[in-house]
Symmetry: C2
Subunit: 405 residues, 2 copies
């Protein structure tokens, strides 16, 4: 590997990400959208100055892990307790509606077919790709708006975590329909086992970190050990339990979010994140795309796919939010916040390709969905928050202690 | 590339680097030495938990660039003006003495031979490897001791920068003896051109950054743009002028060291550095070594090589420092501070191997030199500073303005 070229690529990425982030802010759009556009500009689509190399992929991976860890650290446990049941219901309908709509979309385009037929599985898989929300862009957008810890923000993040688990279960179930070696029961068990494992290990780590924190507050060892814990829990989640590594990172953050030095850790993580890893991650979404080689033959299907995937989440999540007592405006925020898809959708697609349930041309649709939802969600969210501030939900359920805010 | 495994490797690296860094501190040794030992422990030498992959190499590269940039940012220009001539003289003898001693060492072991013979070039190349100081470990050690900006610290860093240039000239000259395509004149010219280029571009960048800094002080764009400038100047230095990238990073830091927000940039860089990139760089030195496969046949030569390489710098640099008016104790500090060798010695060796002037077995000697000098220099420096504080050199030459210190 040419380590020298890394320096050139990173210089270009962070410079253009910041530049377009600032331009986006001037245009009242969130910085994240600008960073993705920067990736499109400097990537193979236009200037071709930077390629999506293994190294950039690795940096982007660390970036998304740090982002989710940071989100976990900023979890408001009291809020989460209040949103837990609601979040689960929102996630469930948010998975179900796009799954059904996506399956129908394929059938409308390519004809209806009997359950169990080859074509039916292809249709079902299109729906499956639509299920998993990728909350990292929403998290960043909510953070910029200062709304991450509100009732809507917490509900979105909680629902997205549960949605992630549900998405994996759906994927495993759908693949299991073709491959008898996968079993929905073992997958569910594995996921549950991970949370039991994380709770047990997390309790020990929390206690140890608490002692270190009391003996040596505000020392470098605190964020370093925290980051090591985040990395290893993400690794273990994915490697041994088949749970997405970003879920592991988020749980690691939640474990440490009640430490006395939690905001100290978050501050240090945040610097590493915005200086280098964050811009690389968001740029890399643009880098992965080559607009020039997009397959035009399925362009109409792709447009419908993008629209249905986004509308599906708005109906599924927003509708349930409304039923659960959110105001109309806040229900829309929840639905829009859950619209974003990201690397999970790509991973699901790759899995589908491998097991023969998806043809490679549909990658175009998935990439377009990621780009559109990543750019539109933050813009929509910002507009929604500017038009209607969040309603007051203190009466939703009486909190045990006042929220930390 | 398995991005998941990165998380495991990074978790292990930062955890053990911090752990051994803290142990080293308990044992009154500097943290850096502990981090290198951590690399030896978790690398192929012992536990084999982490490999020196391309990704780790890339992260280590960014780490050393950030470290040198940080050192440049903390340059005290007033001090440097006072140490410029002295540093040049110290660097010159610091290159000459090890070059001569190294050549003789080879001849003592393997027999004297006429100038111009094949064997003579091999001997000369052993001397050449000894020339280039790698100051990053010394910088880190001086920083930990809070002595980076003192007269001794500034002299060491200035001398090491000049030493780097001299080392490249020596290497090009020695290789040029065998290969007529290389010309000492063009190399010198290229190096001079780089400094002219860096001064011109640096002046523009400084002016632009100054305007941004005044309009938006303490905003994220300042350190991000600074880092982008550092990366691109490092790249240009190496790619277009054949000057080591770390020299480019140091010069980038010097360009920005008089900004009003220079310490703000340095603080942000420092966090990225100690959280992740720094530990990865120092660990990677240990990772590159497999003690088990060391060639034992040249063990005696290697031990002599290590001793001579270190003593050569102490005599060459320390002796000249004494002549130039430093106290005996501070001269020893200068000599010891210049002892460290690092990645530059490895790059020189690889070049020698490629052009047939070095046999691969001597890599053992070079790696041992890097390890010994990296571990011993910080320990020696710490002891020296604890025994004798730095003398007062305010009378050395009258500074134009009082030093910022």
């Amino acid at each position: 590997m040419d380590t020298l070229d890394l320096l050139r690529q990173l210089a270009i990425i962070i410079f253009f990400a910041k530049l377009f982030g600032l331009i986006a802010r001037k245009l009242k759009a969130p910085e994240v959208a600008g960073e993705i556009v920067a990736g499109l500009l400097i990537g193979p689509s236009l200037l071709n100055w930077v390629a999506d190399t293994d190294f950039i992929k690795g940096m982007a991976e660390i970036g998304v892990i740090m982002l989710m860890f940071d989100a976990g650290l900023e979890t408001n446990i009291q809020q989460m307790k209040r949103t837990g049941l609601k979040a689960t219901l929102i996630a469930a309908t948010g998975v179900l509606v796009p799954l059904v709509l996506g399956t129908f979309l394929y059938m409308i385009f390519y004809g209806f077919s009997a359950i169990g037929s080859e074509k039916f599985y292809h249709a079902l898989f299109i729906g499956t790709i639509m299920t998993a929300t990728s909350v990292s862009i929403t998290v960043q957008a909510l953070k910029e708006l200062g709304k991450l810890n509100g009732m809507v923000g917490t509900t979105i993040v909680s629902a997205a975590i549960i949605d992630d688990v549900l998405g994996i279960i759906v994927l495993t179930f759908v693949i299991g329909l073709k491959d008898p070696s996968q079993n929905i029961l073992t997958v569910t068990l594995r996921t549950l086992l991970f949370f039991v494992f994380a709770a047990a290990v997390g309790w020990v780590v929390y206690k140890v970190m608490n002692v270190i924190d009391e003996k040596h507050p505000h020392t470098r060892r605190i964020p370093i050990l925290a980051l090591a814990f985040c990395f290893i829990l993400s690794y273990i989640a994915d490697k041994f339990f088949g749970v997405a590594d970003i879920t592991g990172a988020y749980v690691a953050g939640m474990v440490l979010c009640s430490l006395r030095d939690d905001s100290y850790i978050a501050r240090k993580m945040d610097i590493g994140s915005y200086m280098l890893f964050g811009p690389v991650f968001f740029c890399s979404i643009g880098l992965q795309t080559n607009v020039r080689t997009l397959d035009t033959s399925i362009i109409w299907f792709s447009l419908a796919f993008v629209a249905i995937a986004m509308i599906g989440k708005v109906i599924g999540c927003g509708g349930m939010a409304k039923i659960l007592g959110f105001t109309k405006e806040d229900s829309l925020k929840v639905g829009v916040g859950m619209m974003t898809r990201g690397e999970v959708a790509l991973i699901v697609s790759q899995t589908g390709l491998r097991v023969g349930m998806l043809e490679s041309q549909y990658f175009t649709s998935v990439i377009l969905l990621i780009i559109f939802s990543s750019i539109l969600t933050p813009i929509f969210l910002k507009n929604l928050y500017e038009k209607h501030g969040e309603a007051d939900y203190t009466d939703f359920r009486h909190p045990v202690k006042p929220a930390r805010g």
